[in-house]
C-alpha cells in the first residue's frame, strides 16, 4: 500500500491536534498503514490538503477542501472512539 498523508488540524495546531495525531498514528500502525501526518491550524488546512488522503479535525474547516474531512472529537471524549478509528482506516484503504 502506498504511503498516505493525513492532515490533522485544530484551532491552534498545538493541543487537541497533538492528541488526535497520536491516535491516528496508533490506529494506522495497528492496521499496517504507512502514514505521514501533518499537524496544523484549521486555517492552514487548505495549504496542506492537496496530496493528502484525509483531513481529521477537532474544529470546523472553513475553507472547502477536496478530500474527506472527519471530525475527531471522539478521540477526546472517548465516545465512539473505535468507530472513529475504523472510519479513518476505511478512508485510507486503497
Amino acid at each position: 500500500m502506498n504511503r498516505k498523508r493525513v492532515v490533522v488540524a485544530c484551532g491552534t495546531g498545538i493541543a487537541t491536534s497533538t492528541v488526535v495525531a497520536e491516535k491516528v498514528a496508533e490506529a494506522c500502525r495497528r492496521e499496517g498503514i504507512d502514514v505521514d501526518i501533518i499537524q496544523c491550524k484549521a486555517t492552514e488546512v487548505a495549504t496542506h490538503a492537496p496530496g493528502a488522503s484525509l483531513v481529521v479535525a477537532t474544529t470546523t474547516i472553513a475553507t472547502p477542501v477536496s478530500v474527506p474531512v472527519i471530525n475527531a472529537i471522539g478521540f477526546l471524549t472517548g465516545v465512539g472512539e473505535e468507530e472513529l478509528s475504523r472510519r479513518i482506516i476505511e478512508a485510507l484503504k486503497d
Binding site: 484551532g11 491552534t12 498545538i14 493541543a15 487537541t16 497533538t18 492528541v19 484549521a42 479535525a57 477537532t58 474544529t59 470546523t60 471530525n71 475527531a72 472529537i73 477526546l76 471524549t77 472517548g78 465516545v79
Partner: protein, 151 residues
C-alpha cells in the same frame, strides 16, 4: 499549575455567564488580564469547546496566551447544565455541568492540561466523584488528582 477559582453549585443561565464569573474571579486575583473574559467568549463563538463525554458535558473554554499573567485554571460546577457549542460541530449544543477554564501560556502546558483533562473525562469514576462533590475539599481532592499538585 494553580487553581485560581473554584465555584461549586454555581447558578448560571448561560455559557457566557459562567465564563464571565470565572474570568472576573481570575482577573481579580491577578491571574489574567481584564480582557480575558471577552476573549474567551469570542473564541467560544468561533471555536466552541463543549465536549459531550459519556458521564457529563464538559467545557474547556480558553483564549490566546497574551491574556494570561499567571498560568492557572478556573473550575465551576453548575447546579443546572448550560449549553456550550460542541467542539468541531458548532451547530450542536452540549449541556455542560463541569467547566474548566484554562489560562495557560505555553503550548507544552496547554497540551499537558489537555491530556490530563481527556484522561479525566473518560474516567467515569473520577468524573462522578467531581459531579457529586458537595464541598470544596471533596472537589479539590479530585482536581488535585487530575492536575497534579496545585502550587
Amino acid at each position: 499549575m494553580r487553581l485560581a477559582v473554584l465555584e461549586l453549585e454555581l447558578e448560571a443561565d448561560s455559557a457566557d455567564a459562567v465564563i464571565n464569573r470565572l474570568a472576573e474571579g481570575m482577573a481579580e486575583r491577578g491571574f489574567v488580564r481584564p480582557g480575558y473574559g471577552a476573549a474567551v467568549r469570542e473564541r467560544e463563538r468561533v471555536s466552541p469547546t463543549g465536549l459531550p463525554a459519556r458521564g457529563a458535558g464538559v467545557a474547556i473554554p480558553h483564549a490566546d496566551p497574551e491574556f494570561v499573567l499567571v498560568p492557572a485554571i478556573g473550575f465551576a460546577k453548575l447546579t443546572r447544565p448550560v449549553f456550550f457549542g460542541e467542539m468541531g460541530n458548532p451547530e450542536a449544543a452540549v449541556p455542560v455541568q463541569l467547566v474548566f477554564m484554562l489560562a495557560i501560556r505555553d503550548s507544552e502546558g496547554q497540551l499537558d492540561a489537555l491530556r490530563r483533562l481527556i484522561q479525566f473525562i473518560q474516567d467515569d469514576e473520577r468524573l462522578n466523584m467531581l459531579k457529586r462533590a458537595r464541598d470544596k475539599d471533596a472537589a479539590l481532592a479530585v482536581l488535585r488528582n487530575v492536575f497534579g499538585k496545585f502550587e
